[in-house]
Amino acid sequence: MTGAIWSIPALFVLAIVGTVTAKTPAGRIVIYGGSLLLAAGLLIAGFDALTGPVQHLRLPLGLPWIGTNLRLDALSGFFLVILGLGGGGASLFALGYGRHEHHPERVLPFFPAFLAGMATVLVADDAFTFLFGWELMSLTSWALVMAHDKEPGNARAGFVYLIMATFSGLALLLAFGMLAGPLGGYAFDSMRAAHPATGTAAIILIVALIGAGSKAGLVPLHVWLPLAHPAAPSHVSALMSGVMTKIAVYGFIRIVFDLLGPNQWWAGTAVLVLGGITAVLGVLHALMERDIKRLLAYSTVENIGIVFIGLGLALAFRATGFQAGAALALTAALFHALNHTVFKSLLFFGAGAVLNATGERDMETMGGLIHRMPRTSFAFLAGCVAIAGLPPLNGFASEWLTLQAILVHPEMSEWGLKLMIPVDGAALALAAALAGACFVRAFGIVFLGRPRTDAAAHARETDPWSIAAMMGFAALCLLAGIFPGVVIDAIAPVARGLTGARMPVQLGDAWMTIAPVEASRSSYNGLLVFGFVTASILLTVAVVHRLSRGVRRGPAWDCGFPDPTTASQYSAASFAQPLRRVFATVVFQASDTVVMPPPGDNRAASIVRRIRDPIWDTVYAPLGRGVGWIADRANKLQFLTIRRYLGFVFGALVVLLMALTLWQ
């Protein structure tokens, strides 16, 4: 195997070093510097695997009859690239950001272990190693979520996260158990060779969707994500949102596309339904949110929905024998996963920088930061443009490809696909439009206008390390947007391995044009759009400068600005109010109540906004109440006599033995 794969054990060693050096001043430099180098190693290993042959490695560790099987193919390689990028960026950011950490000993040891867990999942070639990496990833990220356990809400976030992580691990365990079959072939090679019966395959697919989906944040399994991701330190939030959700996507692709073999068409429909709902609900939640980090977490839910729409299309096309379409949809999904890693990490870095500068996560307390933090706001703006899906940045390229995959579908005879594919097209378009509004709101409220609090007024620009990380990712957003053909061609081996086809070679076309199927049907040229956008901006600036007499600062025009208090500006809530009226009254039962104190009472009048999460109310709250009810009943068992406990053991044994007798 590639030498660079040694990064994984080195990360484990670094985690141990972290426990020792965490409290020393050099600990931060050692751990994050080391993580940065090792993430670069993972990146190189990923590039190697994307282009090179499949590599195997068997280590005599773990269970004696399985060992530890590692495998690097194009799919793992692609996700290793994602991990290397996201992990490296987070490490670079943390070199500066980690300085503000009050309890470095609660973050430093777990950070490299988290990276190592994710890398282990990617290179695993048997169920045991895979689940080991998966659980390591869950546990270390849980520890990182609990790093600031004293802050309100974080303990609950950690609790919900732990439950959902256990649930997802359990579901995957079931999936692997059924894939292994009665003979217990836990190596992935034997799973690929085995062909489970249709019914079993259906159950495996559903269980894998539940297991990987609850880690990725698919609705209705997303409830932990907007709680846990913001609770962690910001560079860890970036890793969890940007990278860990992609590892979950990898798990789904590995099980369903690779291990399970051919699928039925309804599988594509199921994934399409969930993906569409996830995309729309995620962005609607994001629009209602006033906590900047929770907004970003909900937006992650939305983007996972978009990725799963692509995956669902790929499954549907593969089942109906339309291989080129499957390759296009899968490429779009993977491209979007990569893009999301880049811009979501960038946005979380920006949120972290703002959080450090103002000490606040509530957008209603910010404003005007573009003057105090010009570099951060520039990078954040790039991330917002990218995630909103505006050309010429990368978010547009991958969302456009996904839409192309929806439009390219031939006449289908299956009713489910006939219905769901156009519906998902509409859902995707709606989600993209709402995401635009959402990030105009995020950027506008945080960075534009006048500062709403003293904390925002006295914010300072963040440190050079963090700026470097953000600017690097902003540049990547632009590059991947201008040259999408490079990325598409790099994904081609993955698509060929999983769908048997690939998209047409893009780099041959003149001027970096990309054409999903053929140039006569549709094509997009990022470079041209970039050139056009840049030229028109420059032209406008030149004209404005020529016509005007330079920048002047004077008293604001009174008609636009009658009230000097900052409260008269647009707020996050008021910006979202029209959309809240249109969508959220139905979906979230949003209500605005004006509380008007009676005459004589000198309290201020207020507006109370209430938003309910339908998924939480209909699924999780009854479930929690049920568990509580059973626990209350079982509580009596805690206060019995010793003899009665012995009697229970005895009685249970006798009953089981009797059952055994009768059963024979």
Binding site: F639, R643, L646, V654
Partner: protein
Amino acid sequence: MVAPHGLSFDVAHMLAGGLVLVSFMMLYQDRLTALLHVLALHAFVLALSVAWQAHIQDAPHLYIAAGIALAFKAILVPYALRRMVFQMGLHREIETVGGVGITMLAGIALVALSLEVMLPVTAHTDPVAREDIALALSVVLIGLLMMVTRRNAISQVVGFMSLENGINLAATGARGMPLVVEISVAFSVLIAFIVIGVFLFRIRERFDTIDVGALDRSRGGQR
């Protein structure tokens, strides 16, 4: 393979059956000293049975297991318990064993149950092991029954020890059980005995009785 109805089978069967019989004897002993004597007898029959297994299986290491059973379970543990009883001044006490008849009937039902469970399951194995395992299960179940019906902590310990003897019988009946298992089981029993002994004295110190009901009262539990 031993012939189904040879002498060795009959003796093995008799010893295992004897163990069940001694288990029944335990159920109605209401004096602690007498109960301890029966426990010693129980372990002695176990040691004989293990030694016989060693003989017919040609497994010399089982002689060691038999020796351990004899030394620890038939002599050391009953003697130590007996000393404890005398130290605590319990040797004259009579424990109320509620419903001897019902307990005995329950014991008989348990033996019937274990035969009913085990014989069909082990239909294809060595008949010696088969009978042994069925009888061993009844010894285990009767030991549990004893722990459930008694109130006195020492009687519960005796029930536990007899239960453990049943497990030992099952382990030796099966061929190829490594010696290390035997030894570790014997030592774990010894450790358990020491721990229990310490606890008994602590309980006694605090509550002036070793009726486990006192523990429940102290915990504020429902009676």
